[in-house]
Structures are given as C-alpha cells and as structure tokens.
Point group: C2
Chain length 343, copies 2
DNA sequence: CATAATAATTGAACCGTTTCAATAGATTAT
DNA sequence: ATAATCTATTGAAACGGTTCAATTATTATG
C-alpha cells in the first residue's frame, strides 16, 4: 500500500507538501506539483479515508437507516420504485461531491435510535437522511437536540424547527378532489396511508379541505384506513363497494394500493374509469403502463432526492439557513378516472 | 466527544485495558469490566470508526456501485423490487455482523472501474458486491488480479476462478419449456434479456437445450433481443404477434418485460393464458397481483442476498474455500399460461 | 519455600493523514 | 544595503484507537 510518505520520498519533498497538493494544489509550486502528480499516478496512491477522517472529522458519507427484518422490510413510506428513485437522486448529488451513502439496517423500530446514535457516535457519517416521518418523530427530536446534521423527507408535528424537503400532500389531495368533482363525482372515497405517518395527517387535511371547498360532506364510511400495498387497496376497495351507496371515485394511499383497488373493482365486473374512478399517489413508472393506466398525484422523487442531498450539504457546511423546501405534486391524468355517469 | 482516554481516566485504568474490554472483554477482570462498562454508558462513549479502521485496516463496510446518471439509473439487472429485496438480504446479514453497505454512484460505465479502485484504495470498504455481471466482465478480472475481496451475483466467462452466487437460469428456462410443451405448446418464443449480460447467455443455453429436449426446432423469428422494461416487452411481443405464424407462448426477460408483452397481447384483443401464454422471470411481488397473475421463474432474491453476504464474509475472513453457490429457480404457475388450444 | 505458570494490567509505538508555526529563499520597498 | 513582504516548503505534534512486549500480582508446582 502506498502512503503519503512514499509519495513524498519519491518526489523528494516533505509529506506536508504532498498533503498541501492533495488539499489545495495552488499552494505548491508548478514544478513540484507536476512531480507529485506523476508520482501519485506512478505509485497508484489513494489517501487513506480513515487517516483523513480521523484528523479532519469528516467522513464524506451520509447515513440512511432502513428497518429490515428477515422477512419484512420497510425503509420508508415510498414503495420500491419510489425509494430507488429517491436513492438515485441522493446518490447522484452525493457522488458529485464525492460523498457516498451508508446504509445500515436496524432490525426493528426499537433499535432505530440506537443505530442513529452509533452511526454518529462512531463518526461513520457526516449527516443523515430521514424518511417515513412519523407523528412526534423521536428521531427528529433526538437529532435536533444533539445537534446532528440531518434532513428529513417530510414535515412533522414536533416542536423544534428542522430542515426538510416535503411534498405538499394536502394540495395534491385538493387537486384530486377538484378534478373529480369537476368530472361530476360527489361520492369520493379515500383509502388513507398508514396511521402514524405524517403524510397521512397532511393528506387528510387536504381531503377535508378539498371536500369542503367543493361543498361536499364527509361520509365516514368513505374513509378507510389503508396501507401502501395491493392487499390493503384490494380489501379496502371491497369494503367501499359493499356499501349500500358505494362511492364513484376512490383516492388511494399510493399507486400500488391503487392497483389493488382497481383489481377489486374489476373482479366485480365494474370498469375502472367508467363505473369507478381511481386515483393513486406517487406516479411510479408502472402507473403509466398499468391497464388501464393510472391517474395519480405525482411526486418527483428523483428531484426530491436532489433537494434532500443539497439541503443536507448546506446543513453540514454549517450555513445558518435552515432549508425547508416544499415541492408541489402534480396531477397526472390517465385512464383510471372518467366522468361521473348517473345510473 | 468522549474518547477511550476519557474512559480510561474515569475508570482509573490504562487505555490498553479499555481497548481490551472493547475487543475481548474476557481479557479484563470482572470488577474492572464492570467499572469500564458503567463509565462507557455514563459518558456515552462510541469508539471512533476512523481510528479503529486506521490501525486495524478493517472498515466493517461493504461496497456497492450502481451506475447513476441524472436521468437513467441501472444498478444491476434485477429490477426495482428485485434489487431492493437483494439489498435487504445483503443488509440484513451485514447488520447481523455490524457491517454496513456503502453505496457509491458511478456516473457511467467509463468511471466504474475507477470507482471500485478508489473505494478499495482509500480503504472505504472491506469488500465488494458485484451485480449485473457481463461477458468478459472487466470488474472481475480487475478485482481478482488485485486480490480484492468480492462476490459476484452471477457467473461469468472469464478465465479466472472467483466467488459467486448465481441462479441457474438455464435450468429455469428448461423448466419453463418443459412446462409449456407439456401444455401442448410448440411455437415458443423468447424475448431475451440485454445482450452482453451473462444471464442472457445462460438462459439462451437453457432455451436451446429445452427446445432440443422437447424435439423442437428453434425458429430465429421467435427469438427477439429484448430488455428489462415494459416498453421492450410490449414492442417485442408486437413483433412476434405480427409474424405470419405467431407463437403461442412467450418467455420473457423478466416480469416487468412480461407485463409489457401481456399488454401487447391484450391490445390485440387476445387473451393472455388462453390465446397466448406468457412466462416472466424473477417473481417480483407484483407478479402475483397482476391481472391475470403471471406465471414466472422465481429467483429468491432475499436469500440470494443472504448467500452473497455470507460468501463475501468468508472471502474477507481469508478462508481458503471459494464459495460458488448455485441456486435453483422455481417455476411459479399462475394464470398467464394455459393449455395450447388448436385453432 | 523457591520457582514456574498464569492472569491482569500497563506503556509506548504505530496506523496515515492534516495542520500550523517556523524557516529558508526570493522579491520588493525603503 | 537593509528591512519588509511574500512564496514555497518543512517538521513535528496531533487525531483516537490497537497491539504487544514488559511488568506486576496471584496461584500452582515440586
């Protein structure tokens, strides 16, 4: 293994000069710079990350902590496709700044905080990205209080102020309802995301406001507590369709859940988009390729990933600003929604 | 920040003893152990990963290098769901051994090897996991030659011997063909994965052997070079169905591709499973929830992740064995395939 | 009882960088 | 000619652990 000492010896300078070259090449004379440069190539030198990090207290790594049990696996609220898009976004900006993403699994929620604490305590990462933000999220309180750099993908109802990037879920819901009422729908059901997640609260507010704005009363029967998977969508849709007066439109927790709901509608011999309109959330790549294609409230995950990483960098660099970015979702209209047809 | 010195002082012992406690508690007397233990809790001490790693040359990190451009993103051949399952598998075993996964994006294939080199050179990771194994994969040659610990998810046609975990794609194809011919199909088309990937070669061998075993000749028109996305499946299926004598069964590159093919079949007013049988590859979670549900050759991604990580650990620990594990895929029969009905 | 063996602890060297005060040499100002 | 300034380089002290030969205390052996 080549060390900075080998380079110094080979180039006939002191290690201090090589270090200068590494960190600020301007500091060394042209001739010396050339000599060091060529020796580095020749001897295939890569400065030790550990030694660097020990001295500078910088790791150029960002931590991400999914919960992974042997069977189950919930990194976050965004589903597979969404999560990977987000990760790609994070990673792309990270790589541009020679950062990497360190993924450390926690076996369950009980170990979660410990894992964050260890990651920071051991100096494994410079900062953290939080996903799947919950109500009264302890992670936010913990990290804020300890003054550890982080960004969250999502707002929370905690007392402290913290940096986040979030999608305006309420506004998305309002758009969806405005669109549906515009099509003549009045019986608009809603399969909610998981209870306890902040996005659930926010979207609910949007649902309430959207219904009120359109002069519609909320029918408790039309609101079903759901989840992010097909099974939940399917079961919830069946519940809704079993009602004496079934809804004519259903807004779901996310696209995957919407697929399940569509399935339920179809197995009853009804036609999605004509008999029942269905709206998803996220706009994963499958939404456009589904049969019929899915109308959905799109979150630009890739860009959210960019924004999260950029925000985290500005937090890490100690700027006094606290990034709090809201992203507007977009309603993408496809075939799963259509005009209300009076029977 | 608490250091080992603080603990030593507080507990009234030398730092050597604290170090012993950290690495092999048996070495220190019961009484001393207790004292150190309580001081560590009290002072919230976490040993610095950098300092440790500098001395021991161990990082307890495993590297993974996806290719991420601002728009595109190909980590590997497995699609979203598959990749996450694999990652969950890796991460779970990693976490059990207090390892983390370090994900570092390379912007393109040209930068790929450099990224691997840097990761190892800087001592960022103890080993690497390779995915999307290609023909004459330079990564394998490079890492083998440099004696860097790694495992690959897939065999390759390189001259050197290396550790891998792989699914027997050929056997999977044979099973699929045996099953289809058993249903009476004789015109069996095949949409291949991306050219250049080793899994493409292996599955092709399985296709050839399977056809031969069933006494069927290979019709060049029935073989279409495909890809892992819906668009490719859709276009390829259209090509096949446009033939004067269209196939009655289509085996596809993966499930997502199969979804595209199903779409093509359906838009022509044909019924999947009756008029045309379709078989996917992977068995992602959607396969079972698709309409009609997809018959597919299942790869147990989660378990493959386990095996990859375990193999990598045995390579890292310097055992003389070279793990080379073959996993049998399984044919999962669902609704997208059915008996051949003579017209 | 002396000696050998065992157990517990210590102290210092070392891992490979960064950092910064000190120095040498060259250039400019007085 | 001397002092002041600037540029390029040096050398040594950190950073926070691990490791291992040396030391001390304790127990077993002949």
């Amino acid at each position: 293994m080549t060390t900075i000492r080998d380079i110094a010896t080979a180039a006939g300078v002191s290690i201090g000069t090589v270090s200068n070259y590494l960190n600020d090449p301007q500091l060394v004379a042209d001739e010396t710079r050339e000599k060091i440069h060529s020796k580095i190539l020749e001897l295939d030198f890569h400065p030790s990350a550990a030694a660097r990090s020990l001295k500078t207290r910088q790791t150029r790594r960002i931590g991400l902590v999914p919960i992974i049990s042997p069977e189950d696996y919930r990194s976050t609220d965004p589903g597979d496709n969404a999560f990977l898009e987000l990760l790609a976004g994070l990673n792309y900006i990270a790589a541009e700044n020679s950062y990497s993403i360190l993924i450390t699994a926690a076996p369950n929620y009980a170990q979660e905080l410990k894992t964050y604490e260890r990651l920071i305590g051991e100096g494994q990462v410079d900062g953290l990205v939080l996903m799947g933000i919950r109500s009264q999220d302890e992670r936010i309180q913990f990290l804020s209080q300890k003054n550890i750099p982080f960004v969250a993908y999502g707002r929370s109802d905690v007392t402290c102020d913290y940096p986040y990037v979030d999608v305006d879920g309420a506004s998305g819901m309002e758009m969806a309802i405005r669109y549906l009422t515009g099509l003549g729908h009045r019986k608009i059901a809603y399969i909610t995301p998981l209870n306890g997640l902040m996005c659930t609260t926010q979207r609910w507010e949007g649902y309430v406001k959207g219904m009120a704005d359109s002069g519609l009363l909320i029918n408790k029967d039309y609101v079903v507590e759901g989840d992010f998977n097909q099974r939940a969508g399917q079961m919830s849709a069946h519940l809704l369709l079993d009602l004496p007066e079934p809804p004519t439109a259903i807004i779901t927790a996310n696209d995957i859940c919407a697929f399940g709901a569509m399935r339920a509608v179809q197995t009853r011999g009804l036609q999605v988009g004509r008999d029942v309109s269905i709206i998803g959330f996220d706009d994963i790549s499958l939404a456009d390729h589904w049969q019929p294609s899915l109308t959905t409230i799109a979150q630009p995950f890739r860009k959210i990933g960019f924004a999260l990483m950029q925000s985290l960098f500005s937090v890490i660099s100690g700027e006094k600003v606290m990034p709090q970015i809201m992203v507007e979702p977009q309603l993408v209209i496809r075939q799963s929604t259509g005009e209300y047809l009076p029977v």
